[in-house]
Amino acid sequence: MKKRFVSLMMAGALTATALVGCGSSSGSGSDASSDSGKKDENPTAKAVDASKEGDNELSVYAWDAGFNIPALKAAEKAYQKKNPDFKLNIVETADSTEVQNRIILAGNAGDYSTLPDITLFQDHGIHQYTTNYPDVWKSVGDKDGEWDQFSQEKLSYSTINKKHYGYPVDNGAVIFAYRTDILEQCGYTMDDVTGITWDQWLEVGKTVHEKTGKYLLSMDNSGNDLPYMMLQAEGISQFKDGKASLTKNDKIEKIFEVLQKAKDNGSLLLCNSWSDYTDQSIQGDQVAGVMNGNWIIPTMQKVKENSGKWAITTLPTLSGEEGYASNGGSSLYITAACKGKKADLAKDFLHYTFGGGDGAVETYDAALTEGGVISTFAPAGKSDVYSKGVEFFENQPIYQTIVEYGTHVKEVEQSDYHYDLRTNVNTAITNLTQKDKSKRPTVKDALKEAEETTNAKMEADGQ
């Protein structure tokens, strides 16, 4: 009897190991190894059990140890003045995508208890996620922050169906930074690139490329944000009444013509990936200009020998007015896992710090000095920390300038399909800029294709 039992156990163990073995055997191609590779070196957040925390503790998901996390630490410190025993457990995630994946996981399972009390979330994604997972986040509309003091454009992301959800953290205001030494070499000054039309800009770009071999602008063409920023500076959205709309506005067509010309005359470098964009084009010193959300500044500052050679200004536009845009950035949201007294604590904490309460200036000042996080909160922009000149940018008080830029950004229609459209617009740009000019579609056709593909997906998803 005993023997039989032992052999049964062995058989069981064998089948178990055989099954495990099956999982790792491979043909040629897709294995389980794919998901273990990419993010292993980065920290991976553990699921949080919000119910096991003390009453005076909050947990939060956030990414980027050099940026968002110092900002949260600053907020914790500021709030401890009001509530000395308060503790904030910051759970670092590998990137913003990991937070999104965790929301998907909890949302599809219908179990929000694995989420922390607060999550940081990408501004461009929040609309789509609140539409599709309506009860993941709690509205904070009933708590009045001093919302008037914030950039209205920033708040437009976190306001969904007139309800307000998020507390803004950073500022996505777009800067156009130029290398003044290179401009000078080509006979230009910063005034020559401020408040100009894109056609004038193309001339400058051509001269710079011919004289120095450098590009006046570069962008990651696997996630090209240029059209979004350029169109926002015109006050135009790529969406109209909830649908992708690229063909009905001549200005959109003109912007894409600018991109095409810029690529052809050597003003624009399109990179294959984000890392090519940051590591090769910017840090590899291939460019004389950078246009992106101001969070790109730490990337630029890594090239120490270029310190003092950069200056920032606004975007060119089609008409020659100074252009203002915003790209990227994130806000803090209270999740459904945060209940009862905890929810009150979370609201109070966020209101006091990021939401414009008594600790806001202190929080934002520390966030700037520790992590380079620039606020959209107008009073913070007036503090001493913000008005300091920055050596890297010829002692320009760039932080103050950026907060000011942020207040000028026009609100444009946002959509759940922001990233879908961006992918399809990328395809359009790639086709419009391919080497063999005879194969290029017309701008109109390329835009029509991108519009149709996006709208087809919208319709199919809505079936």
Binding site: L19, S33, I104, Q128, G284, N426, A460, D461, Q463
Partner: protein, 299 residues
């Protein structure tokens, strides 16, 4: 006393079922049940939490044929399949033939070297190829120093060269793997058969074509099915080497399915993604069936 009624055969049968049961149960719970669930899911639509059955039955299945990106991904996958699999298998069989030569010195060393790429992880080798062929990567530098290129060439930024580089990467990674199967197959062929052929005056090509290939047929069919299956599910290279780009010109079916379910930038549409997975499943089934039929020597 009841036991006397059961004869030995029945007893053995019962033991057989007993041994089979745990494995069968586990396979059922972990494989077949999820497959059934995936099929049910493929009939639903809606993103995020709002999943519901489609009003038009099999809507997801008709949707994929009007989805331009999915059609492109099918085209890309078959491009890889048609170019890469034959080239790889021919290379593998030739290498196996060379490395099976008894008089070759350092045979073990060469075999190890050819097989070694298979020991690298798919992600890491994709990333290495990515940096090799980057615009300022090693390959560009070499070509420029040798005077073949005048200017840096953006390999991964051009639709054609991006696909070719994926194929080169695949060849590097998988040729050795298939070679090992052929080597094993070759060891099973009696050397006396070759000697007899030699006496009959057959040259190297003839012995290869008339002896090696027919005797290796089962192995060839197996490697074919495995390679087709693997290529149809190609994922890591597309994601890590080119990220499907430029403009989705190198995206594979699995990569597109992944983008629809786990990309993170978008809320997933699991229903549509499972429908596409079933399409890939059916394709693999059909191709494997054709392969088996073509290779079947019985009448």
């Amino acid at each position: 006393m009841n036991n006397m009624g059961i004869n030995i055969q029945k007893k053995q049968q019962r033991a057989g079922w007993f041994f089979l049961a745990p494995a069968a149960l586990l396979i059922f719970v972990m494989n077949f049940y999820p497959m059934f669930q995936a099929f049910m899911m493929s009939l639903k639509t809606g993103v995020g939490k709002n999943m519901h059955f489609t009003t038009v039955p099999f809507f997801n299945y008709t949707r994929m044929f009007s989805d331009k990106i999915f059609k492109q991904s099918i085209g890309n996958t078959f491009f890889y399949l048609i170019i890469q699999v034959p080239v790889m298998l021919i290379l593998a069989i030739l290498l196996a033939q060379i490395l099976n030569n008894k008089d070759l010195k350092f045979r073990g060393l060469f075999r190890t070297m050819v097989f070694l790429p298979c020991a690298t992880s798919l992600v890491s080798y994709s990333l290495i190829f990515k940096s090799l062929f980057a615009t300022r990567g090693l390959m560009n530098e070499i070509f420029i120093k040798l005077g073949i290129f005048k200017d840096y060439y953006n390999f991964l930024g051009d639709p054609w060269s991006a696909k070719i580089i994926i194929i080169i990467a695949l060849l590097w990674r998988w040729t050795g793997y298939n070679m090992v199967f052929y080597l094993a197959g070759l060891q099973n062929i009696e050397y006396s058969v070759y000697e007899a052929a030699k006496i009959d005056g057959a040259n190297g090509w003839k012995t290869f074509w008339h002896i090696t290939v027919p005797l290796l047929k089962p192995t060839i069919i197996m490697t074919f099915i495995m390679s087709i299956n693997g290529t149809l599910q190609l994922f890591d290279e597309s994601v890590n080497l080119t990220n499907g780009g430029p403009a989705n010109t190198s995206i594979t079916m699995s990569h597109y399915i992944y983008n629809n379910s786990f990309s993170g930038t978008n809320v997933p549409n699991f229903g549509y993604a499972s429908a596409m997975s079933f399409f890939v499943f059916i394709l693999v089934g059909i191709l494997a069936f054709i392969n088996l039929k073509v290779g079947d020597s019985r009448d």
